[in-house]
Each structure stands twice: as structure tokens, then as C-alpha cells.
């Protein structure tokens, strides 16, 4: 009995030590990253427009990835998956480095951001209520379209149209694939809809 307890304690202690050293290495990596970030910030005055563009592209890509992840969750009627992506999208918008934007770009971005973040938040908070989430997704998709049109998507995107959603008024979404997978209808009518525009 006593032996077992001692053995248990010893095991717990070693696993703790392992965790600790893992944490340390993570911290070390973070520190390094911070330093790198700091050095880039210090160099902002020297930043050429191409560097700024690259920075913007990275941020847009992160936003777009979260959106596409959400879109794909909706095509599978996966409400909790969409909620997870919603939280990711919200974070991506808030993380966006606006220092790389010109004044005009900043205005465009902030206009889209204020609206899109709210939709992302709602989708993130309403896992389980997929109809409600999809209503927000419709307006979010509009925001995303304007964002990609203004800053470029960094990849080929398709603007797809579903004629039935929204009481027959129809709704758009953005997709990374040519194949139609409808996020508004999900599995019920997965392939309904058509490509309206190819965004390069």
C-alpha cells in the first residue's frame, strides 16, 4: 500500500517536471517571438509599402481561413463547428494589424470590422441554434466579400448564390472551391446554388 502511494507520488512529480520544462520552452519561444515583433515595430518607419502589403495579406488570410472554416461547418450542418470558427474569426479581426493600413484603407477596414465582428460574435455564442447563426452568416458573407474586394483574398475565391434563403430573396457566400456546397441549406440541398463571380 505504502509502496503504491510513494510510486504514485514519484510519477506525479516526474510528470509535473516534464510539464514545467515544456512550459519553459514555450515561454522561451514566446519571448523570442516578442523580441522579433518588437524589432519589426521599431522598423515601421522604414517599412516599405510591399512589407505593409505582406502584413495585410497575412491578416486577411487568417480572417479568410476562419470564415471558410465556418462556411464549411455550415455545409455540414455543424452548428458547434461554426461557433468555434466564429470565435476564431472574431479573434482574427481583432488581431488585425491596422498600423500597416493607409488612412483610406483603415476606414474601409473599420467599417467592415465593426459589423463583421458582431456577426462573428453572435455565431460564436449561438452554437446549437443553426438557423440563427445562418442569418448572421448571410450578412457576414457580405462583409467578407467587401473585405476581399478591397484588400484581395490572396487566393481564388468564388462568390456563390443560393436563390432560396431569406424567404426566397437569396443569399451569397464565398467559397474556395469551384464545386457548390451550400452553407445555407446544408445537407438538405448541398449542391443547390450557382457561381456568380470568380474573385482573383
Amino acid at each position: 500500500m505504502m509502496k503504491n502511494i510513494i510510486l504514485g507520488l514519484a510519477m506525479a512529480a516526474t510528470s509535473l517536471a516534464v510539464c514545467n520544462s515544456n512550459n519553459r520552452s514555450i515561454e522561451y519561444l514566446k519571448m523570442n517571438k516578442d523580441l522579433q515583433l518588437k524589432s519589426t515595430v521599431n522598423n515601421t518607419s522604414l517599412m516599405t509599402s510591399s512589407v505593409a502589403d505582406a502584413k495585410i495579406a497575412v491578416s486577411i488570410k487568417e480572417i479568410l481561413n476562419a470564415y471558410l472554416q465556418m462556411k464549411n461547418a455550415f455545409t455540414e450542418d455543424n452548428s458547434t463547428g461554426a461557433a468555434t470558427a466564429g470565435k476564431k474569426l472574431e479573434a482574427a479581426f481583432k488581431k488585425f494589424d491596422k498600423s500597416a493600413l493607409t488612412a483610406a484603407q483603415k476606414k474601409t477596414y473599420e467599417d467592415v470590422e465593426a459589423d463583421a465582428v458582431e456577426h462573428a460574435e453572435h455565431i460564436g455564442a449561438n452554437g446549437g441554434k443553426i438557423e440563427h447563426q445562418r442569418e448572421h452568416f448571410e450578412l457576414l458573407s457580405k462583409d467578407m466579400y467587401d473585405l476581399v474586394k478591397a484588400f484581395g483574398g490572396g487566393q481564388v475565391l468564388y462568390k456563390d448564390f443560393d436563390p432560396m434563403f431569406n424567404n426566397g430573396k437569396g443569399a451569397f457566400w464565398l467559397s474556395e472551391t469551384k464545386e457548390i456546397k451550400n452553407p445555407y441549406m446544408g445537407k438538405a440541398m448541398l449542391t443547390s446554388g450557382s457561381i456568380k463571380e470568380e474573385i482573383k
Binding site: D111, A114, E118, E131
Partner: protein, 156 residues
């Protein structure tokens, strides 16, 4: 200490706390100003529709709340203050004109959807404000107005 005494002390403490919290009154959401950004100054809205909105929505979605008597009793007043704060953050009809047209469109969409899906007005609110329940004809009026406003906004 006897059990009886313990219970008496506990009741006494609860009573004192109840009295003390009555002195902590939240700030009231009251304003007689009609702002230039008020929805009635921003988009076309008939008196009928406005009356419905004022009656059912304005307590939490405007700068002017009509407080019931029990709002003077804490913690009820605190609870209401929190609802009003959250409500105004999501949508404030008194400041509708300060939203970008993109957000106005989003808000109008949200209004129609939350009415249709019976998310708004909140169930607890409807319980305490019997006349905030929409009749079928009021609902239709409201949703038609909402749709018209959206159409004219997106045409801009």
C-alpha cells in the same frame, strides 16, 4: 450556540444586507432629448410603427427607459440596469443614425429576425410588460417596415 439562535442571526444578516444594498442605486437611463441620430430622424418610420417600437423595445434599446416601481428595489434595479446596458450595446434606437449604413442594415436584419424567431422581446420582459407582446398585425406592420427600410438602404 443553539440552532435557533444561529437561524435568527442568519436572518438578521440577510435583512441587514438587504437594507444596505437599497442605498446602492444604479444610474437611471433617462433622457428627454431627441437626438439627431434618433431612428425617427434617420429613416422613414410611421407613427404606428414607432409606437410599437417605443412600447416594446425602448426600455432597453433607447436612451429613455420607463421604469416600473420594482426597479427601485435592489437587486431588481441592478438586474435591469444590466439588461439595459447590454440592450443598448446591441442596438440603440436613439443613436441609430450614428451607425454606418452597413451596420444599420445589419441591425434592421437583426430586428426582423429576432422578432420572427421570438428572441425579442425577452420572455421575462413580456412576462412583466403584458402589452409588449406583438399582435399578428403589429408583427406584420413591423416586419414590412423593416423590409422597406432595408430595401431603401441597400438601394443607396
Amino acid at each position: 450556540m443553539s440552532l435557533r439562535k444561529k437561524i435568527l442571526i442568519a436572518i438578521g444578516i440577510v435583512f441587514i444586507v438587504f437594507i444596505v444594498i437599497q442605498f446602492i442605486q444604479p444610474v437611471r437611463n433617462k433622457s428627454d432629448l431627441l437626438l439627431a441620430s434618433d431612428i425617427s430622424n434617420t429613416i422613414t418610420i410611421s407613427d404606428n410603427v414607432q409606437a410599437i417600437i417605443i412600447n416594446a423595445c425602448y426600455d432597453c434599446h433607447s436612451n429613455n427607459t420607463i421604469y416600473p416601481w420594482y426597479s427601485n428595489i435592489q437587486p431588481m434595479g441592478w438586474l435591469m440596469a444590466k439588461h439595459i446596458k447590454n440592450g443598448k450595446e446591441a442596438l440603440n434606437f436613439s443613436e441609430f443614425g450614428s451607425y454606418s449604413s452597413r451596420r444599420q442594415l445589419s441591425k434592421l436584419n437583426g430586428i426582423a429576425n429576432s422578432i420572427r424567431d421570438d428572441i425579442m422581446p425577452l420572455r421575462s420582459y413580456k412576462l412583466m410588460h403584458k402589452n409588449s407582446q406583438f399582435s399578428a398585425s403589429q408583427m406584420e406592420l413591423l416586419i414590412n417596415w423593416d423590409q422597406q427600410s432595408k430595401d431603401s438602404l441597400s438601394a443607396k
